[in-house]
Symmetry: C2
Subunit: 335 residues, 2 copies
């Protein structure tokens, strides 16, 4: 929606057809009692003006029946769930319903879904995905679009995401402020932007204290508990006196906790451990209960929906840009 040229409104169509805006809405939405001639007259005027029937028209005719489409690349996965809950939370007050479609990360499929959603008259689209890695833009779309979690590569799109770097910076700062000095970082795969950014966050917190992250204690691996268990062993066998570990996910952190326990290392007294995600399934299963970074995915979903709704209701294009929200450290027992 970076197109700011004037588009025809319901009022323009009504004027040309010589009817009221309400009649335009009824004619184009196929509701209410209208003669075939009136309907045809409106359709001709709409075609002449290249009018795209929009939310305003429909809401005039039918009350609040907004629908927002959500396209995810996360295969309905666990990152989409909280984002969707946030979107719904925000939209429910406005009696807006959502339809979630899975693009499977395939641009061709996503375009098909987008066209189908528009064909089914959604008022706006939220695009979301798995983790932070930037994604292709859907391009020009005739309804407002907001990207959330996964940022769009097109700066003319509005993207709302969280600040990975800030997240681990706060986590590492907490470790430093409670007396730790020798930190390790256990990341996911290096090819994932989130893994790399979260490492930078740890480095920044250390730099602020005049310290450095030992490259031998900055590790990349998998997003899994078993990698976390292996990483705990690597840290303990490194011969370095580590007293705090920042992990790039809660699954990794849980593996680290289990690995440390098996080596009779006490958490948090000997080594403090922080996770990332605040994923209840992992946090509640971990012992001790996991201190972790919450990226507040629900808030991102709420914000995306609020911005989308404002654009829909105000009939305004969405201003492009990148919005990055801070994460929050949730302190429990592991650090």
């Amino acid at each position: 929606m970076s197109d700011s040229r004037r588009v025809a409104t319901v009022r323009d169509v009504a004027k040309l057809a010589g009817v009221s805006p309400g009649t335009v809405s009824k004619a184009l939405n196929g509701v209410g009692q209208l003669s075939a001639e009136t309907r045809a007259k409106v359709q001709e005027a709409a075609a002449a003006l290249d009018f795209q029937p929009n939310h305003t028209a429909r809401s005039l005719a039918s009350g609040r029946t907004f629908t927002v489409g959500v396209i995810t690349s996360d295969s309905f996965g666990r990152f989409t769930i909280p984002v969707m809950l946030g979107i719904e939370d925000s939209l429910a007050a406005g009696q807006v319903s959502t339809m979630l479609c899975d693009g499977r990360g395939d641009p061709v499929r996503e375009h098909q879904l987008m066209e189908r959603l528009i064909g089914r008259q959604v008022d706006g689209i939220v695009v979301t995905g798995r983790r932070r890695d930037p994604r292709q833009s859907l391009g020009r779309v005739p309804v407002p679009v907001v990207y959330v979690l996964s940022e769009s590569l097109d700066p003319d799109d509005l993207s709302i995401t969280y600040d990975d770097e800030h997240g681990t910076q706060v986590a590492a700062h907490h470790l430093l402020s409670t007396g730790r000095r020798h930190l390790a970082y256990v990341g996911g795969p290096e090819r994932h932007l989130a893994s790399r950014l979260r490492r930078v966050g740890v480095e920044r917190a250390l730099a602020a204290e005049g310290l450095e992250l030992d490259p031998n204690l900055a590790m990349y691996g998998q997003w899994s508990e078993s990698w976390g268990r292996s990483a705990a062993t690597i840290v303990l066998r490194s011969g370095r006196s580590v007293d705090g570990i920042v992990c790039a996910s809660d699954q990794i952190a849980r593996g680290v906790l289990d690995g440390l326990r098996e080596h009779n290392v006490h958490v948090p007294d000997d080594i403090a451990v922080v996770g990332f995600d605040n994923w209840d399934v992992m946090v509640q299963g971990a012992r001790p209960l996991l201190t972790t970074v919450d990226p507040h995915l629900e808030s991102l979903g709420r914000e995306a929906a609020t911005r989308l709704l404002a654009a829909i209701q105000g009939d305004q294009p969405i201003e492009g840009g990148m919005v990055t929200r801070p994460c929050e450290l949730v302190i429990r027992d592991s650090a």
Copy 2:
């Protein structure tokens, strides 16, 4: 869709309007080049016959553009994910896209969603939810509907789900066939049908060997790891010589495994443990790797979509009934 009376088809409308079926489709879908008069003539004929524009009409005009709506009560949760993947898997071959809506278990909201989906011309609806507990029917709907996972209380609806009893029966049978004789059952909340049915499965397997489930070793609790850990302690302190534990979920089983390990009980040699769900996150994190019951949710989703697609393409109502599919025991290291 238990209504079997004859409804008007595209051909009926075409005959009355004196046009071809293709023209009917174009007119009612607002696509293609048609005069306003032809469009009006078709609309009048459709109204006179009380014709509901359907999938066949739209597919005639636009090729394969089927869309299926999915209503879940699972808040986009982890039971919906595999069901959705199965549905999409089945539908993708037919170029069908899906739209997922969250009814939050609220019948009023579900009806609104259903109406909106139909207003947006979906060709069929799948209703799914969290676990097995039966749910209210959506009632009479003008497109085919299939219930999956959560069964409909209306026997005129088609419900496809898995067999809880069979699942734990196979699990308990496996324990018995490998020499165990003293089984415990660790369930979720007693109010959940799945908890009660899974207990019956264990009892049946024992009965087949002339054994009984000790009521003191059949426990209800929560769907959580911490309940599993507590249950392990209860079993060990019961004074009974348990050699096998059937758990009602993988989360419970993982807690049982951790609890047993802390008491230095060796799994599977001292006590064998079986879970239920085959949830990768829990299975892969558990040590030893968890032997568990797979309810094959993806298969259920695929079957639901296949039945729905057949009904849509054949323009046939769906025959009501209850289809229950067996579970499969996936043997790993814990039993």
